[in-house]
């Protein structure tokens, strides 16, 4: 069980990571075609979705998406979960692959992309099997170490006399233009952090985050900075020539009095760690979602009588290591006990180790195709294709988000009616 501040970390990391996921690319591409307007629109859309989803999910304390969907017939829940698992997987994979691209472009041009991606994948796969709480702790540390650095870079960027405010103003004068769907889909990405609650909600016992107004305000700030600062550095026309406009911007900043003169490297370190953690979070969710299919099957096999009950959900646990325990500890119904399985796993050790092994093997069988697909992406996607994939992901993600909110609402409705 963790405190509510972790909710903000989940939001914040997604908001910061947008640079890797082609959000600036989409926005600068549309800078004369309503990007600015779409930022304002997306702040409204994004924070509305965020607040609705948060309120909804707080009605399911300690439950993940598979448990929430337990009310649905399997014909509905399995396809839904698969769609979301794929979305989360792709999100992590796009982050990784584009960071490999960035690495090759800015840091180690001679490194084979294969090695870089293997290095990232080893870390991400190993870590995505950690318990949900552990990932949140790691997230907190990463955020707290990196946010001051990001802030430093931003301050450095904003107070640079060579930043052309005229160029920024020129883009602002394009405010009254109809926004396009593509730029709205891109800009809402930064609010997407809340969807991670789909699994991470298991770690929260109550979800009543205070100061929610901070999210639209900070989101707007982050979006404006993301969008406008590179324009100030590279000009209204030149910004389009940059492949990763923020990395070029970071390269344009100099910190005279620091050990590392080129801010690019500080920026790179920061974003490498942030994007690795994001990828871990997303893959952890994908893994847990896919695992939930098997858990149900297991239960039916081991305990066919209770299989008929549609509320046999609480089994899928908060961690990969003790997932098997809960299935025998909680046979009948309801919710919020998943955290207790944490403690129950110490009771029967001999039984546990063999069960542990099967779940651990299963984790690997799920992760293996994910890894292979990502390797494939890393090898076959060149710069242009990668950009296309990244942008398509942004476009598809928004409807996916709406679907998620709607389905959770439906689940809430069903449960309320039954009660």
């Amino acid at each position: 069980m963790v405190k509510e501040r972790y909710y903000y970390y989940l939001y914040l990391i997604n908001a910061l990571i947008n640079i890797i996921n082609f959000v600036p690319r989409v926005l600068t591409g549309n800078r004369f075609e309503g990007a600015l307007m779409s930022i304002f629109v997306s702040v409204v859309i994004g924070s509305t979705l965020l607040i609705i989803f948060t309120k909804l999910i707080s009605r399911f304390p300690g439950e993940g998406l598979p448990q929430i969907y337990a009310d649905f017939p399997r014909v509905v829940s399995i396809p839904l979960l698969s769609i979301f698992a794929i979305l989360w997987y792709v999100s992590g994979a796009v982050t990784l692959v584009s960071f490999v691209d960035i690495t090759l472009r800015y840091i180690s041009p001679d490194l084979s992309p294969l090695y870089a991606i293997i290095g990232y994948l080893v870390l991400v796969t190993l870590c995505s099997r950690l318990t949900t709480e552990s990932i949140l702790y790691a997230l907190e540390i990463t955020i707290i170490i990196n946010v001051p650095l990001v802030t430093y870079i931003l301050i450095k960027a904003l107070f640079n006399p060579y930043l052309s405010w005229d160029a920024v103003m020129e883009v602002i004068t394009h405010l009254w233009t109809m926004p396009k769907y593509s730029s709205i889909a891109g800009a809402t990405f930064i609010f997407t952090g809340y969807v991670n609650l789909a699994i991470f909600n298991r770690a929260f016992h109550s979800m009543k985050p205070r100061h929610l107004w901070l999210i639209p305000v900070s989101g707007l700030m982050i979006l404006l900075i993301t969008f406008l600062v590179p324009i100030g550095y590279h000009g209204t026309i030149g910004v389009e020539h940059q492949v990763y406009s923020w990395f070029s911007t970071a390269d344009s900043i100099r910190s005279e009095f620091f050990v590392v003169e080129r801010v690019l490297f500080i920026f790179y370190f920061t974003y490498l760690s942030l994007s690795l953690v994001t990828a871990v979070i997303h893959w952890h969710i994908a893994l847990e979602l896919i695992k939930s299919f098997f858990e149900k099957k297991d239960k039916k096999k081991s305990n066919p009588s209770s299989g008929s009950s549609s509320m046999n959900s609480s089994s899928s646990s908060s961690s990969s290591s003790n997932s098997s325990d809960s299935s025998n500890s909680t046979k009948s119904s309801n919710s919020s006990k998943s955290n207790k399985s944490n403690k129950s796993n110490k009771s029967n050790k001999s039984n546990k180790s063999s069960r542990d092994r099967t779940t651990s093997n299963r984790d690997w069988w799920i992760l293996a195709p994910m890894v292979l697909a990502t390797l494939g992406m890393g090898i076959f996607l060149d710069q242009i294709k990668l950009e296309l994939v990244g942008q398509w992901f942004l476009y598809v993600r928004l409807p996916g988000e709406l679907l998620l909110v709607a389905s959770v609402f439906a689940a809430y409705w069903r449960r309320k009616k039954r009660a």
Partner: protein
């Protein structure tokens, strides 16, 4: 059994990753650091185009690199630099050919001085500017400048004061060491921005070789999107800096009652506005000002409050005159190094027509300057 397998796997992975090392593992002492890069254009008959083979001999370029050769003892001033140069029909080709002239791997990552020869700058700089922006290892915070007579000669100057090769150029072009008000300091990302921006044109400092080991940087070159169009004198370069930057450290002198007063600026500020005049013309209105200290006066007059006031007024008037002259000169070249066009775009909300409007407005621009110099202190003595 399982543990054993795992252990084997880990060991295997480690071995594999050891194999990976080496593909780009190159120690710092096997790299030759390029500290300065100079590009000159070569006359047709001289250029033999050693590499690249054939092709049109139109744009032959000579690329010169200043390499640092690190020597054993860092405490001595033994950091020798060598200059290698190569003529070819494109910059990358020349660099590739240069690799075989050096025993170490060329490393551009510390290359912070990028010089265009005057001749090259007068033909076409687009290739070079594209190349330096495209290459990942050339920093965007490098300094760009035009060199006279040729970039190679300027690069070859070894200032007595410099410890690290080409560092004197970095210090002065970046204003890290000297704070000369005549140096127009331009980073390469800045240069690149002005090359592409609509409504603003690039400007670069001019580095001149004066004697064997003296470099002078006090002039500037105005570019259109392709090549040099005009040159600014030292005084004009200073005025450019005055208008473009805040808090320029410089001194001016003014004549009042046959007495020449020299004053040193402590703070300066400058901003401009675009105003529409009644006849539909555009007025660029500059407001400049600053606080100054009196440095000397040629007749040792005791400076009282009223005298300071009078000097201030005279100085302001002189500023207005000089700046206006300068602006008119720039306007006469048809260029826009101060970004008036961009400002027009920034303040106009009818985006479709703004560029067209500006094109019509530009030839008839008018200028007005309001200067407010306040000489407030007389120094240590009255």
């Amino acid at each position: 059994m399982r543990k054993c397998l795992n252990l084997m796997l880990v060991i295997l992975l480690f071995m594999l990753s050891l194999l990976l090392a080496g593909c780009q593992f190159k120690d710092v002492d096997r790299r030759a650091f390029v500290l300065g890069l100079a590009v000159d254009s070569v006359e047709k008959k001289e250029g033999q185009g050693e590499g690249g083979g054939g092709g049109s001999k139109k744009h032959l370029v000579q690329v010169s690199l200043k390499l640092a050769i690190p020597e054993g003892d860092p405490t001595k001033r033994s950091q020798e630099a060598i200059i290698v140069s190569q003529i070819s029909n494109s910059i990358p080709e020349a660099v590739r050919l240069l690799k075989s002239k050096v025993d170490k791997e060329l490393d551009f990552s510390h290359c912070k001085t990028l010089l265009f020869g005057e001749g090259y700058a007068k033909t076409d700089i687009r290739e070079m500017s594209d190349w330096i922006a495209r290459r990942r290892d050339i920093q965007l915070i490098g300094h760009v400048a035009v060199a006279r007579p040729t970039a190679k000669e300027v690069l070859g100057v070894r200032m007595i004061s410099e410890r690290v090769p080409a560092y004197a150029l970095i210090l002065s072009l970046g204003k890290e060491g000297t704070e000369s008000p005549f140096i127009v300091s331009i980073y390469s990302y800045n240069f690149r921005r002005h090359l592409s921006e609509i409504g603003a044109d690039p400007i670069l400092p001019l580095v001149e070789k004066e004697e064997e080991d003296v470099l002078v940087i006090n002039k500037a070159m105005l570019f259109d999107k392709q090549r040099v169009r005009a040159e600014l004198t030292a005084n004009e370069a200073r005025l450019y800096n005055l208008l473009k930057t805040q808090g320029l450290r410089t001194s001016f002198n003014v004549e009042l009652d046959d007495n020449i007063y020299t004053y040193n600026m402590e703070t300066t500020r400058a901003k401009f506005k675009l105003l529409k005049s009644e006849e539909g013309k555009m007025i660029v209105q500059y407001k400049v000002g600053g606080r100054a200290v009196l440095e000397d006066n040629s007749k040792s007059v005791t400076t009282t409050g009223p005298i300071l006031e009078q000097v201030s007024k005279a100085a302001s008037k002189q500023w207005e005159k000089e700046i206006k002259q300068f602006l008119v000169k720039i306007h006469g070249t048809g260029l826009d190094p101060l970004g008036w066009g961009l400002r027009y775009r920034a303040i106009s909300w009818n985006n479709e027509t703004e560029e067209e409007e500006w094109r019509k407005l530009y030839p008839n621009l008018e200028f007005s300057v309001k200067a407010d110099v306040r000489i407030q202190y007389s120094g240590m003595i009255r």
